[in-house]
Symmetry: C2
Subunit: 208 residues, 2 copies
């Protein structure tokens, strides 16, 4: 799965209630259109699809106050909230995902309690270590002539290097979280669950 659902759910959740263009704008501001598939078509499609599946609740709102076709506002249902957290956990843990997944997960990591975030990242490190070992074994079975693999061994080198650097980064973040960096879910000083409608999204544009 791509990161689009996580991104859209996270963006809607930050507003409490949002219409497509707001989501699209937030994601564009984050540059997500460049490092993920967060393009208009995908965003609107994801909103509709998730509404159909009961993850989002759609409110048809009168023709927009500022030009354009009538707009629809969405908010997370309970199922949507659960799906959001599941996707977020998976984004931080799973190592076979494309990098946009992990990037999105990091972007929303403060929606998790500190303990859990650390635990997930530790799992990530363990998975990366295991994968590196597995790749190493798979590509150098006893008795097989290294010559035989030739340049294909370079793929192994690439993967091993990717795994090690990924684990390194995760260890760094674990350390920072362990020493109290950032304000995580449920901690005093946390951003309110839902942004006040009149205040701008600190991570997005200035339009309420």
């Amino acid at each position: 799965m791509s990161a689009i659902r996580l991104l859209v759910l996270g963006a809607v959740r930050q507003h409490g209630r949002a219409h497509g263009y707001q989501v699209r704008n937030d994601l564009e501001y984050w540059g997500a259109n460049e490092w993920s598939n967060a393009k208009p078509g995908s965003i609107y499609h994801a909103l509709k699809q998730m509404a159909k599946q009961g993850l989002l609740l759609a409110h048809d709102v009168a023709p927009s106050t500022a030009g354009g076709p009538p707009r629809t506002e969405y908010e997370l249902t309970e199922a949507g909230e659960a799906e959001y957290l599941a996707l977020l956990r998976s984004a931080l843990t799973a190592i076979d995902e494309k990098p946009d997944m992990l990037t999105s997960g990091v972007g929303f990591i403060v929606d998790l309690p500190r303990d859990e975030a650390i635990k997930l990242l530790q799992q990530r490190v363990a998975l990366l270590d295991a994968w590196r070992d597995e790749v190493g074994e798979h590509w150098t079975p006893r008795g097989s002539d290294p010559e035989e693999w030739g340049h294909i061994g370079e793929i192994m080198r690439l993967w091993v290097s990717t795994a090690e650097s990924g684990a390194q980064w995760a260890r760094g973040l674990i350390e920072r979280l362990s020493s109290g960096a950032y304000v995580m879910a449920g901690e005093s000083g946390a951003r309110p669950e839902v942004l006040a409608p009149e205040s701008g999204n600190p991570y997005a544009d200035e339009n309420g």
Copy 2:
């Protein structure tokens, strides 16, 4: 674009002439179904699409000799050959691609002359260095309070680390290529351009 076209063109090219199942089998053997989107539907779709676009020539062959529906064999046209090399070059150079692109590029790197492969990888390193610097600047503009960015700065750290490890790997491969590792296109001892039909593909299964 995904890696599917590069993979399919490369696989067909290695056989000189191949039908869909052969391609599918090769790619499965390389594990490409796991680290890329090389699934049956995508492979057959890519074959048909590229045939329609003149990159491949389709030969309808009598009902298969060994079960299943009638099969179609494909071979690269001149345009297909050009497209293949263009995709391969781009896979090795471009840094904004998903990792399956680079992996595929490495898998086929010996289809390029040594000089060119080295040059492309050097370009890659330069692009990665530039990207790392740009990310660093974009995320720490003068006057902006680091506190303001909070955990979002972790995305920057992730990207910087990705860029540096990617550049490191590329430098390693450049070095190995420079000291004569592997047999590249046009070099004595090179595998023949096209595999003999009766011999197995050394990088795939044993069926001709």
